[in-house]
């Protein structure tokens, strides 16, 4: 499965459009990470726990999108876009979407 946030796949022709595919996941942080984050809120700096959490979540959302695309018989997803929204305090939604296509 080829993923790209370009509108085309350079050097290949798009032979069929399968439609919009998407994947999302909502993640909450846990208490341990929260305590560390509380400390960091005094001195500043990177919240490493959150970075890892969001990375994990984003790859899960992406794999859901890829699963949907392969179920449609696509071999590439183009124009991939990511979006993140804080739903409530402590929970974020990671959302990824793109167009499933068949390339030559």
């Amino acid at each position: 499965m080829i993923l790209s946030n370009l509108e085309t796949v350079p050097g290949r022709d798009i032979v069929d459009y399968k439609g919009l595919v998407q994947g999302n996941t909502v993640r909450a942080k846990h208490v341990g990470r929260d305590i560390m984050a509380g400390l960091k809120n005094i001195v500043g700096g990177e919240l490493v726990g959150y970075t890892e959490l969001l990375d994990e979540a984003r790859s899960e959302a992406t794999s859901r999108m890829v699963a949907e695309a392969s179920a449609m018989g696509a071999n590439a997803v183009v124009n991939v876009r990511f979006s993140t929204s804080a739903i409530t305090q402590g929970a974020s939604e990671l959302y990824v979407y793109g167009t499933a296509v068949v390339i030559s």
Binding site: L6, I42, E46, L47, T51, S83, G90, S92
Partner: protein, 146 residues
């Protein structure tokens, strides 16, 4: 009285560690950006053919809005104007996200990354609760080609 003392102690800790960490981070970023400068970075959508299979690369970082910065920002907000401290913080975070993206691209043996997008989102608390802390994620993604 205790409240003022606590505020002062927290501020001093923030100034001391914050400034030290910032200096170290800027030096680290300058070094990594130099090392990764062989990768061409653009935000162009159209890429010429013949560079092999494109791959999606990402990089992100979550930063904390610390006590010291929130304190200064609250004072600046009374009169308005530039909040330089947030400017440098966000700039550093964005550069960090880009450096991670380029590290990802380098692992895949890419020569260039096109159509780079940056995204900002709050983590841990919504924008209405910005004054109580939390953090923000800077996320960068793009398409790597060989």
């Amino acid at each position: 009285m205790y409240a003022i003392a606590t505020t002062l102690v927290l501020l001093l800790i923030g100034v001391f560690f914050g400034t030290r960490a910032e200096k170290k981070h800027v030096a680290y970023l300058a070094l990594r950006e130099e090392e990764l400068s062989h990768i061409i970075v653009t935000n162009l959508k159209s890429v010429p053919d013949g560079f092999g299979t494109p791959e999606l690369v990402t990089g992100s970082t979550v930063i904390a809005f610390d006590y010291f910065r929130r304190f200064i920002a609250r004072i600046v907000m009374l009169v308005g104007g530039r909040i330089t401290m947030y400017e440098t913080m966000l700039d550093r975070a964005r550069r960090q996200a880009l450096v991670r993206l380029l590290e990802d691209a380098e692992r895949r043996g890419a020569k260039a990354v096109h159509n780079i997008r940056f995204e900002f989102s709050r983590v841990g608390s919504s924008s209405q609760q910005a004054q109580v802390g939390g953090g923000a994620e800077l996320f960068a993604y793009g398409t790597a080609v060989k």
